[in-house]
């Protein structure tokens, strides 16, 4: 589980950097006209997230024993709470910052949500590794 957590951490960090650069370039190159590729991508992502969660959850949990499952679920609960809380904070804070009747470019709230989502995904393997480290340091030599 720890080895997988390290691999996931590396993969998600790399993915976040690539996604950030891609989104930046996409925004720079795009105009204000409708982007059908983005609409299709949004539909696919929106459908994949709930279905993928169910499918992947079973697959991930299948290989874990009860203690590892507990660690995994704890990490997921914390990262999901982080995502929900910080999304609210980010979006409401942005709203307050710019003024309740002001407007911002549409990509800003999108970036906030996606950015926090990516950070929440990175948090999961990190929290797994932290829990394992805490377990070892509490228990001493094996």
């Amino acid at each position: 589980m720890e080895v997988k957590a390290w691999k996931d951490l590396g993969t998600y960090c790399y993915g976040l950097i690539v996604a950030a650069i891609s989104i930046y370039m996409l925004i720079q190159k795009s105009g204000s006209q409708r982007n059908f590729a983005m609409i299709v991508a949004a539909i696919i992502i929106g459908i994949w997230i709930p279905i993928g969660q169910l499918v992947m959850k079973k697959r991930i949990l299948r290989g874990l024993d009860e203690r590892e499952r507990l660690i995994h679920e704890r990490a997921k609960a914390i990262s999901d709470s982080f995502l929900g809380g910080f999304c609210l904070m980010g979006l409401l804070g942005l709203w307050g910052w710019v003024g309740l009747k002001a407007s911002v470019p549409v990509y800003i709230p999108v970036i906030i949500v996606f950015g926090l989502g990516a950070i929440a995904e990175i948090l999961k393997p990190l929290l797994i590794l932290i829990q394992c480290k805490m377990e070892r340091s509490e228990g001493g030599a094996v």
Binding site: M1, D65, E66, R67, E68, E135, G139, G140, V142
Partner: protein, 70 residues
Amino acid sequence: MSKDRLSNNIRRLRFDAGEMTQQQLADKVGVTRQTIIATEQGRYAPSLPLAIKIARAFGKTVEEVFQLEM
């Protein structure tokens, strides 16, 4: 409200059972070695099915393997 503490004598039972290793016990009960280590050191309280499997691996009852200190 006092915190209950679950202790065990898995380590002693392993040695009494022909120096069974943690890995051997883990394989027998279907968990990882890390789970056996965490259970042995009292850092993880196993579920009831796992506690029963561990007790059966030593031919003991659950109460002979695990003790609840209140």
